[in-house]
């Protein structure tokens, strides 16, 4: 493992941002810390870099203890050999692009000028900025600056690369493009990386593993597909943008299928484990729902609804519908538009295998 955090606590005065935090980043993986602002994800990252001093615990990088509160170890930032890509780019405007990239090589003092020049150009080539090497760094666009910041980090060949919401200052188009490039770059170079973001699509697209954080703790850790398919709590489901979460209780369990009664008086069949009488949260992922003009005979989970709003978006149509029992649900239909409009009657259905049940009260 490249980085290990054990029982790390970070406090500011009386406020505890992170408490008893454990995390392992494996060699060569990109691990994403995903969470709302103020959840402590940036504090964790800055503690690994050494820019912040935790109030407890131990941090190990490549087998070397860089921080241990009990033993009084705190290796200075510049001796930890980590790289960091900042949200604000942190590109030095008084230097050229090449000087920016070569800076870590220069302060390491292990290369001569020619080697540094060659290395800087090589890295700039990997981010597609070779021809900008001589340009003053202040005369670059946001996207280019962030690529220079990436190149600067790659150049030092760090134990771990820390990325602090690197795309959030870019406009939407550039963000999409750079996200793609980042993924490709990481697959190619295999650098160990920790990526901090509050953006769901970045987390899912880039992470080998995703750790969803809230209030200083990891709520769920797994591959993006695992986490998305099986959120372990209402918080994770909500943060992953999964709408339609309703409280209910299990009334019947038979052949691996259960029936859950929702509070509005609706029965949902799903693949719940658990026993009759359990309080649960039922989650109906909007993109798994089917909205039809006509009823289909023989479906177990089908409800008659009224369309409240329909947003036709071209490749997809988003609906808000109200069931006869008064449940309001979001639904997304891809590529199939039945021309439903406000006030129309529709039939909403969901395959029991797509129904998620979460333990009530878990998470935050």
């Amino acid at each position: 493992m490249a980085v290990e955090l054990e029982n790390v606590t970070i406090s500011y005065g009386d406020v505890t941002a992170v408490e008893g935090f454990d995390l392992v980043i494996e060699e060569g993986e990109m691990l994403v810390l995903l969470g709302p602002s103020g959840c402590g994800k940036t504090s964790v990252m800055r503690s690994i870099a050494g820019l912040e001093e935790p109030t407890g615990g131990r941090i190990t990088i490549e087998g070397k203890v860089v921080f241990d509160h009990a033993q009084g170890i705190d290796v200075p930032v510049n001796k930890r050999h980590v790289a960091m890509v900042f949200q604000s780019y942190a590109i030095w405007p008084h230097m050229s692009v090449e000087e920016n990239v070569a800076f870590p090589l220069k302060v390491a003092r292990k290369m001569n000028k020619a080697q540094m020049h060659q290395r800087a150009l090589e890295v700039l080539r990997t981010v597609g900025l070779e021809e900008f090497a001589a340009r003053p760094a202040s005369r670059l666009s946001g996207g280019q600056m962030q690529r220079v910041a990436l190149a600067r980090s790659i150049a030092m060949n760090p134990y771990v690369m820390l990325l602090d919401e690197p795309l959030s200052n870019l406009d939407a188009k550039m963000r999409d493009r750079l996200r793609f490039e980042l993924k490709e770059l990481h697959d190619r170079l295999g650098i160990t990386a920790l990526y901090v973001t509050h953006d769901l699509s970045e987390a899912l697209a880039l992470g080998d593993r995703v750790a969803v954080m809230n209030e200083g703790r990891i709520i769920q850790l797994g591959t993006p597909r695992e986490v998305y398919a099986h959120p372990n709590s209402a918080f994770v489901a909500d943060f992953l943008g999964i709408a339609n979460v309703f409280p209910g209780s299990v009334t019947e369990v038979r052949d691996g299928e259960s029936t859950v009664w929702l509070e509005g008086g609706v029965a949902v069949r799903g693949a719940t484990e658990g026993a009759s009488g359990d309080k649960v949260l039922v989650c109906l992922p909007p993109e798994r729902l089917t909205v039809r003009r006509r009823s289909t005979t023989g479906l177990v989970n089908e409800w008659k609804c009224e369309v409240v709003t329909a947003n036709f978006l071209g490749a997809q149509t988003r609906y808000k519908v109200r069931s006869e029992a008064g449940l309001v649900l979001d639904a997304v239909q891809f590529g199939r538009d039945e021309g439903l409009d406000r006030g129309d009657t529709a039939y909403l259905s969901v395959d029991p295998r797509d129904v998620l049940t979460l333990p009530a009260g878990a998470g935050a």
Partner: protein, 592 residues
């Protein structure tokens, strides 16, 4: 594709693996102790310096105001109330009243002038905008000392040049500058740049969309100005008013220079008299100073409260140029008004000084003599510059100015860095001590320095060094605030990313932060240099015949009745300040 970039390994050399940082011993936690010591060394040094430079002199004055003698006098000190009893005299009440009247009225005038010029320069299409901008900041190179001297020459009751002019033209006006209105007038004119700078920068940062929104929703230009622009400016205007008030309350120079006969007493002139009269009554002087201290502490507390709100009102950082108001045919009238003001504030005074410097006699007897150019002579100038005193003063002034500016800026930047970029304990106290001198009158600070350094066994008293230290202490708020704003413009990430890249903290400051602040540092140094070059009051109790600086020279010559010599030095001195100011104008704009 196997284009993976392989690099010569920059990673840890030698030893590798294994745990344990240098100095770390399991169990004993020496590493942590060392870390704590190392991390707090700088703040400890800073707090020590701030204490010696600012806290101790201030406390010394408080102590002296409650004791029977001064420290270092040999008499055993004990606590008495008696010094304060003397404050209940009619003299003291009168001094407080006159201080308040001159400062309040002076502030109103200064704010009116500064705000008016700022609005004209930034928000209207007045003719000759650059001239208006220059007028706004003119008194920067025309210090209060010189302004007061010039108006002494122009409007003295018996021999003022303007009085000669009026009587020869049979205009029934008789000016007397040695009156309360006279002091108010000079205060108002020479302290107006603060209001100008505050208001014009607020106006420049003003988001024009706020006004456009009002216009779109049906407000006329005038209504918009009254209901949107003015309220948004009020923090800047009030802040400027309070700063002007503070500076006037603690100003000794202007009342002392204008009122040579001593029939108008402010708290400051009274304090000075108590110190210098024979027998000297330093304890009572300190007690008088305490009243002023109380007033200023109250005002600067209010001021800080109000300025705290300054951010949200105007700054959007968009840097859009606000829409300018069309003055129509008043474009020229407005410019004419500005020119009249410029003549009153700068041109006339400067001509008066030149006239006195170049005439063999002090005052003219009739107005026609003014236009008799045959009597112009450089003899006074030659006489003044050929003395040994002049070369001593010249050397001292430049030396003190440069040292106070360079060492002061270094000191202030380190304070700013530690208080804004680190989280060490004690930074709040450091910030507080750095701001405190705003509320301490210069004369009081000089007294505090006198007593402090008579007591501290370092051979500094009576040298240039004590002047340099006093100036650094006196201008710590200005230097510190300027440094803080310059530092604030350089994002902390820029430096952090250098440290993450492997540079040491000091190396990162040298390679990244300092080069990025070069222009800002220059502006701070220049600001401190100009402030130190102009300063008279703080040096009044600290100078000796060997450590005289120009402001002291001018003051002494004027009080000794040698107007020609005072004017000759003033003329050269203000031309020098003018040149420095103009040369550094682009930096100064960023500094204030």
């Amino acid at each position: 594709m196997s284009t993976a970039v392989r690099a010569p390994d920059l990673r840890r050399s030698g030893g590798g693996g294994g745990s344990g940082a240098p100095g770390a011993r399991p169990g004993l936690a020496w590493g942590r102790v060392l870390n704590v010591v190392r991390r707090h060394l700088l703040i400890a040094v800073l707090l020590l310096l701030l204490t010696v430079l600012i806290a101790v002199p201030a406390i010394a004055v408080v102590v002296v105001s409650f004791t029977n003698d001064v420290p270092g006098s040999g008499t055993p000190l004990h606590f008495i109330w008696h010094n304060y009893a003397a404050l209940w005299s009619a003299d003291s009440a009168d001094a407080l009243k006159q201080s308040l009247i001159t400062s309040v009225c002076g502030s109103v005038i200064a704010v009116a002038i500064g705000t008016g010029l700022a609005v004209l320069a930034v928000r209207t299409n007045i003719r000759g905008r650059w001239l208006v901008e220059l007028t706004g900041i003119t008194p920067f190179f025309f210090p209060p000392l010189v302004g007061a001297l010039a108006w002494g020459l122009l409007a003295q009751s018996n021999a003022g040049l303007l009085n000669h002019l009026f009587s020869s033209l049979h205009v029934p006006v008789h000016l007397n500058i040695a009156t309360i209105p006279g002091i108010v007038f000079v205060f108002g004119v020479y302290y107006s740049p603060y209001a100008y700078l505050f208001v014009s920068s607020a106006l420049r940062l003003f988001d024009p969309q706020l006004e456009e929104a009002a216009r779109v929703h049906g407000a006329s230009t005038a209504t918009t100005f009254r209901n949107v622009t003015l309220p948004m400016l009020s923090p800047a205007v009030l802040g400027a008013g309070l700063i002007s008030f503070t500076l006037m309350m603690e100003n000794y120079t202007i009342p002392a220079m204008l009122n040579t006969k001593g029939n108008i007493n402010t708290l400051m002139t009274r304090m000075y008299a108590l110190m210098q009269n024979i027998p000297s009554q330093p304890n009572r002087a300190a007690a008088v100073g305490m009243i002023l201290l109380v007033v200023l502490v109250v005002v600067s507390t209010i001021q800080r409260r109000m300025l705290r709100g300054r951010d949200f009102t105007t700054v959007t950082g968009k840097g859009l140029r606000p829409r300018t108001m069309d003055l129509g045919r008043f474009r020229w009238v407005a410019l004419l008004g500005v020119l009249v003001y410029l003549v009153i504030a700068v041109v006339l005074p400067f001509l008066a000084i030149l006239n006195s410097a170049l005439r063999p006699y002090m005052f003219v007897s009739k107005i026609s003599d003014l236009f008799d150019f045959s009597t112009l002579t450089l003899s006074a100038v030659q006489q003044v510059t050929s003395t040994q005193q002049f070369s001593i003063s010249l050397r001292n002034t430049l030396l003190v100015g440069v040292l106070a500016a360079v060492l002061g800026a270094l000191f202030h930047y380190v304070i700013a860095y530690v208080t804004t970029r680190t989280k060490v304990h004690g930074r709040g106290l450091a910030r507080f001590l750095a701001i405190v001198p705003i509320g301490i009158p210069a004369l009081l600070m000089g007294m505090g320095f006198l007593w402090t350094w008579l007591y501290i066994p370092l051979p500094i008293y009576g040298t240039i060094a004590i002047l340099v230290l006093a100036y650094i202490a006196r201008f710590t708020p200005q230097g510190f605030l300027s440094a803080t704003s310059v530092l604030g413009a350089v994002h902390a990430d820029l430096e952090d990313s250098a440290v993450v890249s492997g540079a040491s903290r000091v190396g990162a400051v040298r390679a990244i932060t300092a080069p990025l602040m070069r222009g800002g540092i220059a502006s701070t140094v220049l600001l401190l240099f100009l402030l130190s070059m102009r300063e008279l009051t703080v040096a009044l109790f600290l100078f000796t015949s060997k450590t005289v600086v120009f402001p002291i020279d001018i003051y002494n010559l004027w009080l000794a009745g040698n107007a020609s010599a005072a004017a000759a030095i003033s003329a050269m001195y203000s031309v020098f300040l003018l040149i420095v100011t103009l040369a550094g104008l682009k930096w100064l704009r960023g500094a204030v």
